[in-house]
């Protein structure tokens, strides 16, 4: 499940922010905002994707780098949301 979430999140980022250029795909620990991959409106878009794809709800207070700052933290954050397990991703 973790591998699949990571793959889907990475694909979303590459498709939407890097013009599909897989050679620039961020590594697990790359800082998505600091390294200029995602900007302030991009984060809203990312949240919408996570909510829609994984059936989770993300509150304003959860919109922090600890949860959304890297591919790795994004994957862990999605995993921690119980509804994902119910979805059987």
């Amino acid at each position: 499940m973790e591998t699949q979430i990571r793959a889907e999140v990475t694909e979303f980022i590459v498709t939407n922010y890097l013009f599909g250029d897989v050679t620039r795909a961020p590594r697990d620990e790359d800082l998505l905002v600091e390294e200029g991959i995602i900007d302030s409106t991009g984060i809203l878009e990312l949240i919408e994707f996570l909510e829609g794809r994984f059936g989770i709800e993300i509150s304003e207070a959860e919109t922090v780098p600890q949860n959304l700052g890297t591919i790795s933290s994004l994957t862990q954050f999605v995993m921690s949301k119980s509804s994902v397990r119910q979805l059987g991703v």
Partner: protein, 500 residues
């Protein structure tokens, strides 16, 4: 031309050496450290032996290094050219070529991306030069020709190719003095800077707070508004400055409105019109803070007008009047001032107005006219002299013979509190001429359908202004200074039409 202080000396003249100048990622730098760092970079740059007045790029996110580099370039009487680190390397390379950059001071974090942007003849220094073994070079304060270029600032280019605005030493100092005066900035102010310094509004925050000897708190992660608010709280910031998209994000996608932010005494809003409903939300969110709505342009160094906080209610929607030292006039096509209530275009005069674009005589003549700076903004003036912008000259939509202000349609849509942002364009249409097309984004978690948005528009707009179509997007395309890139929306609309 009269002479004035060198702008780097001017900016550092008033501060107490041991006061904190900058906060970056939890690290504090005093004015003494800033001057020493700028001196190191100036020494390294002087070793390149460039002729006075050379254009020297500054590239990177807002940082201690960025500020030291900017000061070093001007101190040597070179011309600082701030580059956006959000452009592609090709665009940065083109801009560097446009102004004939001789050298660049670049942040190592972005140099990997942009290395190819600079030709072989361009000298590149990085933040490694801060550890230079050279003696800091910082000669005693001297004077410069007030009309000499200090900075070349690129316009953000929402509609056309960017232009390099010449900003002189005299321009910067005039605008800085004026802003400090009307905002009543203090040496104990701490400003949270979420805007990039390569944007004139961001640069003006740097200029004014350094000149006042205040503290500049850098925040490069505004994509996470909660983290930015934590920083604001932790650093007890007294001043917050943003563009409409910043406040839309804070009010509708963060806990800003629910937080107590007792340190915050001053909020600055510029860079486009914030719809009245969001101004009301902002006032309600931080009732103790004074809110200054302002208007400006890169060609005017930064600011041109402000609305005093005590007039926000009775002059709602106005950009106010000219700031001290600036005269704004609303002129008819004939060049005569319009009568109260009639529409004209805003022209500006003052010591902060740039002498023109770099190496673009034709473009300069169109913008810098005998009547003053032609702003491109259409406005009306009321009986008390308060100016109300109706729209950009280029942003009007002509539909079914009506002239429709995109701002009014956007403001109506944003009455719907599930929305974060709205942008309207005219899409070429055989019958209507242009069809009103509205793009919106919803706040996280909110489900919004185009029909619901249309229903709100119908309630608040005359029939001819109601959008033909509404598209709900995940995000609006923004340019590097946070303004909606309407050109890209037009491209999207055109691509959509072609697909059908």
């Amino acid at each position: 031309m009269p002479h004035c202080a060198n702008t780097s000396d001017y900016l550092l003249a008033e501060a107490a050496p041991d006061d904190v100048a900058l906060v970056e990622a939890g690290r504090r730098y005093t004015y003494r450290e800033l001057r020493a760092a700028a001196g190191k970079l100036a020494a390294e740059l002087a070793a390149l032996d460039l002729p006075v007045g050379s254009r020297v790029g500054v590239l990177g996110p807002n940082s201690f290094f960025w500020v030291a580099a900017y000061l070093a370039v001007m101190k040597l009487s070179h011309v600082a050219v701030p580059f956006s680190d959000r452009l592609t390397p090709d665009d940065v390379g083109r801009n560097a070529g446009l102004v004939g950059c001789a050298a660049v001071l670049a942040d190592q974090r972005v140099l990997r991306t942009f290395e190819a942007a600079f030709g072989a003849g361009v000298g590149v220094l990085t933040d490694q030069a801060l550890r230079s073994g050279r003696e800091p070079y910082w000669p005693d304060a001297g004077t410069v020709d007030a009309g000499a270029d200090a900075v070349l600032m690129f316009t953000s280019g929402t509609t056309s190719r960017p232009k390099a605005v010449r900003v002189t030493h005299g321009n910067i100092q005039a605008n800085t003095e004026s802003i400090i005066t009307f905002l009543e900035l203090r040496s104990d102010d701490r400003v949270l800077v979420i805007l990039p310094f390569f944007y004139c509004y961001g640069a003006s925050l740097l200029h004014t707070h350094l000149r006042r000897g205040g503290r500049v708190v850098l925040c490069n992660s505004f994509a996470f508004p909660e983290t930015s608010l934590d920083l604001l709280e932790r650093e007890k910031c007294t001043v917050l400055a943003g563009v409409p998209s910043s406040f839309q994000l804070l009010l509708r996608a963060s806990t800003f409105a629910r937080r107590a932010l007792p340190s915050l005494r001053l909020i600055q809003q510029a860079g486009g019109k914030l719809p009245p409903v969001l101004i009301e939300e902002l006032l309600a969110a931080v009732p103790e803070a004074r809110l200054f709505v302002m208007y400006g342009q890169t060609e005017a160094t930064a600011r041109l007008s402000y609305l005093p906080p005590d007039r926000l209610q009775d002059k709602s929607g106005s950009i106010g009047k000219g700031i001290p030292g600036v005269e704004l006039r609303v002129l008819a096509e004939s060049g005569e001032p319009v009568a109260a209530g009639e529409r004209g275009e805003i022209y500006a005069t003052g010591a902060n107005i740039s002498p023109g674009y770099y190496d673009d005589a034709e473009g300069s003549v169109a913008k810098f006219t005998p009547y003053g700076l032609r702003t491109g903004d259409l406005a009306v003036v009321d009986g008390d002299g308060y100016i109300f912008i109706v729209d950009r000259r280029d942003d009007f939509i002509k539909s079914w013979g009506h002239r429709i202000s995109s701002q009014e349609v956007e403001a109506a849509a944003l009455r719907m509190e599930q929305l974060v942002s709205a942008a309207v364009i005219g899409v070429p249409d055989d019958e209507a001429g242009e069809a009103v097309t509205l793009f919106v984004t919803a706040r996280p978690g909110a489900m919004v359908s185009p029909d619901e948005v249309l229903a709100v528009c119908r309630r608040h707009l005359p029939k001819y202004m109601v959008p033909r179509s509404v598209l709900v997007l995940g995000a609006l395309p923004l340019n590097s200074s946070g303004k909606v890139a309407k050109r890209r929306l037009r491209e999207m609309a055109a691509a959509g039409a072609a697909a059908r």
